[in-house]
């Protein structure tokens, strides 16, 4: 279980997060959704210790993150960001193996694990020896996912992983992600600004606005009983091509 409790964060005068609390039960996926600039990425950064919160705490299975334990906790978290954040000077395989290498895994074990993940995320083996800049955006996200899963972490934090992927590839990736989450039974926080994606991948949805969580629930509850006007507007702002045909 991940639990963020009473998180506040300001950058200078700008209060970005206002006493946010969020719990994600073990093995479930929560989609974090909300308008641009509402603080989704900041919350995720705080959860993995890249940014320090002004108040509040983050716990993974009751262990609160701190300076001293953050690196070992990070080995139990996979982190995927929009453009993948792959290291351009390393091959894809080296990117994937970096943390395992640091932890002293044997080459054979690394090899085995990469092969296993390669099948899981559905990528051809010749891609692995290329540099990140020489593969497509969709492939980069698959590599980034492999890197995040390498140490078989319990938790996965994803910040708009499909944000810059074109629709067809995106559709495919959404299917793959859903399958992978279910197969591996991970505890996932997925940031997205697409309600369809949030509903498809998340067991529950947390809707954020201006540093606060406005509503938390499954898609059905949110659609049928929006907490306020903003939620209502947010739902109707999602355009369906079918709606325009009528």
């Amino acid at each position: 279980m991940i639990s963020a409790h009473n998180i506040s964060k300001s950058f200078d005068e700008n209060q970005v997060l206002k006493q946010i609390s969020l719990e994600i039960p073990q093995g479930s996926t929560v989609s974090l959704i909300g308008p641009s600039g509402c603080g989704k990425s900041t919350l995720l950064r705080i959860m993995i210790g890249l940014v320090k919160a002004d108040t509040g705490s983050v716990r993974y299975n009751e262990t609160e993150i701190s300076e001293s334990n953050i690196n070992s906790i990070r080995h139990n978290i996979g982190y995927v960001i929009q453009e993948g954040g792959l290291f351009p000077h390393l091959t894809n395989a080296q990117n994937i193996a970096l943390a395992a290498n640091y932890l002293g895994w044997a080459a054979s074990r690394i090899q085995e694990r990469i092969e296993q993940l390669r099948e899981l995320v559905n990528i051809e083996s010749d891609i692995l020896e290329r540099q990140p800049e020489h593969i497509s955006g969709g492939q980069r996200q698959r590599i980034s996912l492999m890197r995040a899963l390498m140490l078989d972490p319990e938790y996965i934090l994803m910040d708009e992983p499909l944000g810059s992927i074109d629709p067809l590839v995106r559709y495919e990736l959404q299917n793959d992600l859903k399958r992978i989450f279910r197969e591996l039974n991970k505890t996932v926080v997925l940031v997205t600004h697409d309600l369809g994606e949030a509903a498809f991948l998340g067991d529950t949805i947390a809707l954020m606005r201006a540093g606060k969580i406005i509503q938390r629930g499954d898609i059905k509850t949110i659609m049928e009983a929006p907490a306020n006007r903003f939620v209502e507007e947010f739902i109707t702002a999602q355009r369906s091509p079918l709606a325009d045909l009528k």
């Binding site: 890249l50 982190y79 960001i81 943390a99 640091y102």
Partner: protein, 519 residues
């Protein structure tokens, strides 16, 4: 000593060569290169082996001083004294300080210079009094060598005749004449400063320039009045009028050898050798030797050797060095200066650049300090190093080292700082400690920028190292310096061309490494 230098060069060569081959671990090779270079420093420091008697002789930048130093050197070597000769080391100040510091043991100077410039008391009249006054510096002088090389002012004979100028006082009526004086003369109490006061001169235009270029300027008509040494070979050659010092401003400039009192204990034979020269060089002979070196372009070694044969009936060994051998030695000296200073600079600058990124509190201080170092004119920086490190290769290396820091520090800093935030966050999110992130992510990503900085440093370093010859460090600056003194274009090119080629080669080498790195 020479052997050690060769050895060093081979190692430097190997490590640079390897750097090209293995792109994957440029950093390691840079490190090896730097470490090897810096480990070599102590070798040079302990180079002076303990021999029974030894002497280090220096000379000033002009031909006469070089010849006198050469004569003393050959005589000392003949007397089985281990002898080092720093030829063309600099002006009076540099030589005097080097003597006081013990970087050299002896050099030729003139009584007038010692009285006016060093002791700065023109009331001193006699040699004995001068000797007395030098005691407190622990410095002694030989008996006069035999000639008086006083300052004088000169003009083209025809020009002086046309204007009816005979004496320095006559110049008062011609303020339109252009005066061109050697830089030392301009600034000395017994030079232009005192002269203009005593003679009440106020010409419209006075410029400072190198003494050896002044004759050229006079001949071309660019300047009308110059300072001369009365033993200059050019007086006859260019048909010059020596203006009469009618107010007796210029004191006597009896040539002597100045030496450290300590030398009497350390190397009594060497002192004997210097005193052996006393009274052996009459004025015509000195003018003749100056003419042979400057006008006939005969090497100073040969002229000195001829003099010794005539005067003392001693055959000295003249090591005639061919062009290729000189080139080889200069190349070694130059690479030695560049290699060690650059190697050390890389070793220090990369960590400094890293610290500047990682410790924001001192970021501006570090960048500011190395930035300021770069703004000090290279010649000045070189001279600043003399009080700290004496003369020779060490101060030159120190100056070059400081000069090489900025481009590497700055590029290391910006190379790391410009890594995109998402890349850095992805690295930390993997749970890698800072040191691992630095080694595996930050340094490799910054490497092209760091290499570009090193390239800039290396090219600047190769060029600036030519100035090292001014303080006795050798290298490609040596023939340039001699070439300027002898007004010899081939000699200047002997230093300038290889220096330019080396700079191009360094540039090419780094371009190659960069290319290897990018594919």
């Amino acid at each position: 000593m020479k052997l050690k230098k060769d050895y060093k060069l081979i190692i430097m060569y190997n490590s640079t060569f390897n750097m090209v081959r293995c792109r994957s671990s440029v950093l390691h090779y840079l490190l090896c290169f730097s470490i090897i270079c810096s480990v070599m420093v102590p070798f040079q420091l302990q180079a002076q082996s303990a021999q029974d008697e030894m002497i280090i002789i220096g000379s000033k930048l002009f031909t006469e001083s070089v010849i006198l130093g050469e004569i003393a050197t050959q005589l000392a070597e003949h007397g089985d004294i281990e002898t080092d000769y720093y030829s063309q080391l600099g002006g009076t100040r540099i030589l005097w300080n080097a003597l006081r510091e013990g970087d050299i043991d002896a050099y030729p100077d003139y009584t007038g210079t010692l009285i006016q410039e060093i002791i700065q008391d023109s009331s001193i009249q006699h040699m004995d009094e001068l000797r007395q006054r030098l005691v407190k510096f622990n410095v002694e002088i030989t008996q006069p060598l035999g000639f008086n090389n006083t300052y004088a002012l000169g003009m083209r004979e025809k020009h002086a005749k046309r204007l009816g100028i005979e004496t320095i006082s006559d110049l008062r009526n011609h303020p339109e004449l252009k005066h061109g004086y050697s830089n030392e003369f301009m600034n000395r109490g017994d030079g232009w400063k005192g002269l203009r006061e005593i003679y009440q001169l106020s010409p419209d235009e006075v410029t400072g320039l190198d003494h050896d270029l002044a004759y050229r300027g006079l001949e071309s008509g660019g300047i009308d009045v110059i300072d001369l040494y009365s033993t200059d070979a050019e007086i006859d050659y260019y048909n010059l009028k020596v203006l009469e010092d009618d107010l007796h401003f210029f004191p006597e400039y009896q040539a002597v050898f100045v030496y450290r009192s300590e030398l009497k204990d350390k190397s009594p034979t060497a002192v004997k050798v210097l005193n052996q020269m006393a009274g052996t060089i009459p004025e015509p002979q000195m003018i003749n030797m100056n003419a042979r070196v400057k006008l006939d372009q005969i090497p100073a070694q040969e002229v000195a050797s001829d003099f010794i044969r005539h005067t003392f009936d001693i055959e000295t060994e003249v090591k005639a060095t061919g062009l290729w051998q000189r080139l080889w030695v200069n190349t070694l000296d130059h690479l030695y200066l560049v290699g060690i200073s650059l190697g050390l600079a890389i070793l220090i600058a990369i960590p400094l650049g890293i610290i500047a990124v990682k410790v924001p509190v001192i970021e501006n201080t570090v960048l500011g300090v190395v930035g300021v170092l770069q703004t000090i004119p290279s010649l000045a920086l070189l001279v600043f190093m003399i009080p700290l490190f004496g003369i020779g290769a060490l101060p030159a290396m120190a100056a070059l080292f400081l000069y090489s820091l900025l481009p590497v520090v700055r590029n290391t800093h910006s190379g790391i700082k410009n890594i995109p935030t998402p890349t850095m966050e992805s690295a930390y999110a993997l749970g890698l400690p800072k040191t691992v992130v630095l080694k595996k992510i930050e340094l490799p990503l910054a490497m092209p920028t760091i290499l570009a900085g090193i390239k800039t440093s290396a090219v600047i370093n190769v060029g600036t190292a030519t100035l090292g010859a001014l303080i006795g460090a050798g290298g490609y600056g040596q023939p340039i310096l001699t070439g300027i003194r002898l007004d010899s274009v081939p000699l200047i090119l002997e230093g300038a061309i290889p220096a330019a080629l080396l700079a191009l080669a360094v540039q090419g080498l780094f371009d190659l490494i960069e290319k290897q790195l990018s594919n």
